[in-house]
């Protein structure tokens, strides 16, 4: 049996193959497409290395260990770990060496800047939710703390640490450098503030009593919130500037 002369068998086969090979997007991708109004951006979001299953499991495990340790002692580990975990996730969200097809993606119509910022925002949001859950689980382990302060207080330093990480990763074009800078800066703040807290005798009730008060000071000290926000704003400006569409002449 032969096909009629006016039938283009190649075209027919292509149509058949298109139907057979058609990928059905999952619920997450459909939701992302609706929210972002761009199937390309939604797909790029779902390929984020630090949003893939193994990475999320790793982040959850780290926070769970922190929560367990905190439940068994008065060390405020969750508040201190959450910003660092989020920062590393942000650093490994997008960039050369992280995204295998980064160079190709840069030559595509969907802006690589938009991909970077979308991925960074979603990684931040996911880590904020994970941190919040861990924080709620450990609530009440430290007597005398203000619930709102310790449930959400670490979000402000987390914003600053994540913004710093992203800025360094974008400027240096290295996820490892970004993650290293963010985590190192956070360690310096935590230990520095802890040293200050242990030497200074501050009047008034401390939100976190006992030995953990010093370590928690980087999160609980309201005087640091404004500097954190200032750092976050400056770093966001740096990211905005560095990722601006290039005008051609450098």
């Amino acid at each position: 049996m032969t096909a009629p002369d006016d039938v283009n068998l190649d075209r027919v086969w292509t149509n058949v193959a298109a139907e057979v090979w058609r990928r059905r997007p999952g619920r997450a991708e459909r939701t992302a497409t609706r929210l972002l109004r761009s199937p390309g951006l939604a797909r790029a979001l779902l390929t984020t290395p630090s949003l893939l299953g193994p990475w999320l499991i790793g982040s959850t495990v780290v926070l769970a260990i922190g929560a367990l340790v905190q439940l068994g002692s008065d060390q405020p580990l969750v508040w201190l770990i959450a910003p660092a975990v989020a920062a590393v996730g942000i650093a490994y969200a997008y960039g050369p060496g992280i995204d295998p097809a980064w160079e190709l993606a840069c030559s595509c119509a969907v802006s690589d800047r938009l991909v970077l910022l979308t991925r960074a925002v979603v990684v931040f949001a996911v880590n904020a939710v994970l941190g919040m859950v861990a924080s709620l689980v450990t609530l009440g382990t430290t007597a005398g703390t203000h619930t709102a302060q310790l449930t959400f207080g670490w979000l402000i330093p987390m914003t600053a640490v994540c913004a710093l990480t992203l800025a360094v990763a974008v400027v240096v074009k290295s996820a490892a450098a970004g993650a290293g800078a963010g985590v190192a800066a956070w360690l310096v703040v935590v230990l520095g503030r802890s040293a200050l807290a242990s030497t200074a005798s501050t009047p008034g009730p401390s939100p976190v009593p006992s030995a953990s008060a010093g370590l928690a000071a980087a999160v609980t000290d309201p005087n640091l919130y404004l500097p954190y926000l200032a750092v976050a704003a400056c770093c966001a400006a740096v990211v905005y500037y560095i990722t601006r569409p290039q005008r051609g002449v450098q």
Partner: protein, 250 residues
């Protein structure tokens, strides 16, 4: 003209990768020849709008890539295969090609057919659902070619496209780019002169960041017969004669 370059220069620190190149290219296949380090890849990355020039004017598809809106339009009509194709090992062939169709903003309802057509063109139909990590180097190269042509581009840039392909696949690829060159501008960067002889209607030869020859493959052969070129094939003799002359004058 689909490509108009005027005195394009690209520097990396003190190193001048592309040195004042002026080139107009219309529809057809242009072979970009030259030794390693001649500036072919840098020139191609500028044409792919990934790398901005340090100086000079660049117009692609009658648009100015320094303007974000123009650049987005160019990228919708651009196909690019980099020298080192990054890929997601867990993606299937179809998923990978579809990803780039979406990033190139191919209308979503056209994506399945566009993907099927591109995969069939590179003869990867039997491997359409295979994970990329299971494919050979030559097959991955063909996946790269499929993503480059999935949006039916008007400007196609291939950097060493035949690297890793076996002789049969190379012959098929040459036929494919001859076909694509009927309607689009295809620039093929290679150091394999036989690719140029078989598939290109024009040749540009680069040395030390400069275009030192522009003409047809026949004109390149004629230079070899007239000059002091060495090599087994007429094109190789033309290539070496021009390079030798360029090096002796610089």
């Amino acid at each position: 003209m689909n490509i108009e370059l005027s005195e394009i220069t690209r520097r990396f620190g003190r190193n001048v990768a592309v040195d004042g190149v002026t080139l107009d290219v219309g529809p057809g296949v242009l072979g970009l020849l030259g030794p390693n380090g001649a500036g072919k890849t840098s020139l191609l990355r500028m044409l792919a709008t990934i790398l901005p020039p340090s100086s000079g004017n660049l117009t692609l598809l009658d648009r100015d890539p320094t303007k974000p809106a123009d650049r987005r339009e160019i990228r919708r009509r651009l196909g690019y295969l980099p020298q080192h194709l990054g890929y997601y090992p867990s993606f299937t062939v179809v998923e990978f090609v579809e990803y780039f169709a979406l990033l190139k903003e191919v209308p979503p309802h056209l994506v399945p057919k566009a993907v099927a057509a591109a995969v069939e063109k590179v003869d990867l139909g039997p491997k359409a659902k295979a994970k990329l990590r299971t494919l050979s180097g030559g097959m991955l190269r063909r996946v790269g070619i499929a993503q480059a042509i999935v949006n039916e581009p008007q400007l196609l840039l291939f950097d060493e496209p035949t690297a890793g392909l076996d002789p049969e696949q190379r012959v098929a690829f040459r036929a494919l780019i001859r076909d694509l060159g009927q309607t689009a501008t295809v620039v093929v960067s290679t150091h394999l002169v036989e690719d140029v002889g078989a598939a290109c209607s024009e040749v540009a030869l680069m040395s030390d960041g400069k275009v030192v020859f522009r003409g047809t493959p026949e004109e390149l052969i004629a230079r070899g017969e007239a000059g002091q070129g060495v090599g087994d094939a007429p094109l190789e003799r033309g290539y070496s004669a021009i390079l030798g002359a360029a090096r002796s004058t610089s």
